[in-house]
Symmetry: C2
Subunit: 507 residues, 2 copies
């Protein structure tokens, strides 16, 4: 699965006209100073069905090298080589000099110990300006009306089976989110509840939110209240799907493939709220006054067993006659035909015995435990982007139908609590969490931050580095080992530390 | 939906030979003294696939009257008439004299205020003896080996669209659980982990739990550990399914139908652990030292929206061209074609706008909020037993495919905590919970129990009565009203109060 990937990554072209005004901020990452390229084609109207087409059109500008690191690391060619060195595994962070990441965010990463040719993690940190596409009345917005919105964005992308998907997502996902938010600019700034119905693109008159309805429908006596927050959640969810669809199109449309897939863990800060969207096995926690607040959960063959089994049960053609949707505690052997073995069906959380029949000898759709759990004996994460060409080993059976590109989004209201400089949101790829846990991370947060002045903006980078180093360990006894002599993580490790009440201003 | 039901209820016939030895207990409810009828046919071997056939064969012994109440209420014909009186709504409890329910369980119920002809709730409380069907080696058990198991059982069944399903479930579900446990008697009494594989019914030799496996299967390096607890959970889950299948068979096989469906909330106490299985919108909470421990969650069109929408998306034929799997905040009107309305798809928790197309004018699969939420504009609960003949209003479209008969099972280890006589497990149908909440119930627990001596066994019945009365209210201003003048529950209300550390002995 850990193929070397030569992927060409498409650069997204903004669908707006001229470059929109960008907010001036001393915290702006250097990457955001690059202009969002001018549109080569007529601005598209927003999609009626977000899933059927992308509002963010793609155009390949260049075929990229097979190895790149986040631009905010500002790596020289020599630095890039050091970052790519499996033997040294030097921890990488943005340079101390120059502009800091927004909110004085800390970041650190390290390459794997040799499990793949390159570091397949990618990261992105941006301040994104959203210009309203049109007013609620459907009329195009006048420039004078352009009171746009700004959101802060952090993303971690853990690639597998190649680095293409992670790299593409790190460059484009926030732009898909921006596209989705363009229609919401005016609505999100209006304190009244969002309108349930808007005029069409052709400027047909708007509709009233009348509750006078057709036919017998006692369950419709009132209309559902939809919050601003749920609009942002919906925008992020659809952006994930559009990103995934773009990867599929790139693969079909052009000679080059977007190889592999990636987990995506994304944070959006907008209008006082932090949205944490996770699709995969990365993890986000808030450490606030020593307390741990989980902000994500992992999507694996174990946690999503019932969803996967249900799909296999409802759509047996997806199993290709090679797999059974039933789960067994170990592989069934031919000589056990007619005997009774423990099993779980899609509706069960408990186990029961069943008589083994011929079709039970097929390989189970879901098998294994912990880090060894797999879907179709192949992949250990069940949500993420890409993987459109992932097949079962020695087979043409596609695995993608069982994978979901939809994140779970959790919302944290920053205004509901007075945060201190030691309160942080920690994002890490599984390279971090495989060898540590929430409590140990919280202890490291306390230990490292208390060694720095509260207003020292470098403390969050120091913390990110400490977390990465603590998970990597040091070379000893022919391996990377932790102080307790257990093996350190041999995976790529990437960590963001986002201060919630630190010196970075976000008001 | 609230049809008058004339249902004939089948009586289950034990598949064992002679009546098994019953435990002698002063707590045994009078209903359990009825002999479990002798088997008229050869004992069946346990089913290889529990879902394909029932180990508990059914035989109609009599056609029952359309109205019955739990036998443990010991109602005279006059008492039965009073229990059926919508005007008086007298609270019913087991008589103070004679045998108490096991553990001195409290129970109270009241009929609805007229929404259906009879009380469609049913209840059951039993001590059930499980005789092992055979030994782990597959050999039939010798009578001398018959160290069976006993479980305590409480069940609340809230019927809808007729009382047949609730009545049938109240008489038979615990027997299905017993059938499922028969194969596990020896395994559950053996402290070593359950064997993954057992010899077949034909007595073929048992298999070793070898991890030597065929083919490339790195995810199978170890076998999964299965606990005794998860075997009991699996047994309860399969018993629910078999009960549901039996209802379907009864309907097809005989002239009479099992009308309607029912929610089922069931408690099994076995070997130190309390298993709470819920399919529907009843609720169970533990009140322990004033603290509330939720032991169930409700399954409604709102809580199961994504499961329902996914099913409609994957199997659009189930929507019959009449419904759309998309959710809208209110009904879409034909004049709104081409405009943009908020919607949610099966993968979304947030909302987004979409252009309204022709198929969006179909009625949504899921609509409404709170108690008015409906699947296919018809039913407000999404799990339960029965409903095999439930159709969409003015249509032949079946709703059953969207309903699940599988409960969620939560486990509470009674041995992990020293319980006092005021610690109770409260079960209530939605008639209770529609007008009260966990905190108010906990306050009533405290208030009522503190008015009685800790060793007074009648205190739990008094508590159940207080809970039912508190939800029913008193007749005032042309309605049943609570002290705060809000409307009381006009639904059937049934409550069990199970003491966890009371005078009832369960050791």
């Amino acid at each position: 699965m850990l193929n070397r990937v030569r992927s060409a990554v498409a650069h997204l072209v903004s669908s707006g006209g001229a470059s929109p005004p960008r907010p001036k901020s001393p915290d702006l990452p250097s990457t955001t100073s690059a202009p969002l390229a001018a549109a080569p084609e007529t601005p598209k109207s927003p999609p009626a069905r977000p899933r059927s087409e992308s509002g963010a059109s793609a155009k390949t500008v260049e075929t990229r090298a097979s190895f790149s690191r986040p631009t905010f690391l500002q790596l020289s060619p020599g630095g890039l080589r050091r970052a790519d060195d499996h033997a040294g595994r030097a921890v990488q962070s943005p340079p101390d000099r120059g502009r800091r990441l927004p909110w004085s965010t800390g970041y650190a990463e390290v390459i794997n110990a040799g499990k793949s040719r390159h570091n397949e993690d990618q990261a992105c940190c941006e301040v994104v300006y959203v210009e309203g596409r049109r007013s609620v009345t459907g009329a195009p917005r006048e420039p004078s009306q352009s009171q746009g919105l700004c959101f802060y964005y952090w993303g971690l992308f853990d690639g597998h089976a190649g680095g293409g998907a992670a790299e593409m997502a790190s460059r484009l996902l926030h732009r898909h989110i921006r596209e989705q938010l363009k229609d919401l600019v005016e609505i999100l700034q209006d304190p009244s509840p969002p309108p349930l119905c808007l005029p069409g693109t052709s400027g047909t008159p708007g509709c009233s939110d009348s509750t006078h309805l057709i036919g017998p429908q006692s369950c419709w006596s009132s209309q559902k209240e939809v919050t601003h927050e749920s609009l942002v959640v919906g925008a992020i969810e659809n952006a994930f799907q559009l990103m995934d669809e773009q990867m599929a199109r790139e693969r079909e449309r052009r000679g080059h493939q977007v190889e592999g897939g990636c987990c995506a863990l994304v944070v959006v800060y907008l209008l006082g709220k932090v949205y944490v969207a996770n699709a995969g096995d990365s993890r986000a926690i808030i450490v606030r006054n020593g307390e741990i607040i989980p902000m994500s959960r992992e999507f694996t063959p174990e946690t999503e067993r019932q969803r996967l089994q249900l799909l296999g049960f409802l759509k047996p053609e997806l199993l290709g006659g090679e797999f059974t949707h039933l789960e067994f505690p170990r592989r069934v052997q031919p000589k056990e035909l007619g005997q009774r073995m423990l099993y779980r069906d899609q509706n069960m959380t408990g186990w029961a015995y069943k008589k083994i029949e011929l079709e039970d000898l097929r390989f189970p759709l879901v098998c294994g435990e912990g880090k060894k759990a797999r879907v179709m004996a192949t992949i250990g994460v069940t949500r993420g982007l890409g993987d459109h060409n992932l097949k079962v080993c020695s087979s043409t059976l596609p695995i993608k139908p069982f994978l979901s590109c939809f994140p779970e989004v959790r919302v944290y209201d920053l205004t509901q609590y007075e945060h201190c400089p030691d309160d942080v949101l920690v994002l890490g790829t599984d390279g971090l969490w495989d060898v540590t846990n929430d409590c140990e991370v919280a202890a490291t947060v306390d230990r490292v931050l208390s060694a720095y002045e509260p207003n020292d903006p470098s403390r969050y980078t120091a913390l990110a580095q400490a977390l990465v180093l603590g998970a990597r360990g040091t070379p000893r006894d022919r391996g990377w080992r932790l102080p307790n002599n257990k093996l350190g993580s041999g995976d790529d490790i990437s960590v963001f530390v986002i201060p919630l009440g630190g010196p970075g201003s976000y008001s």
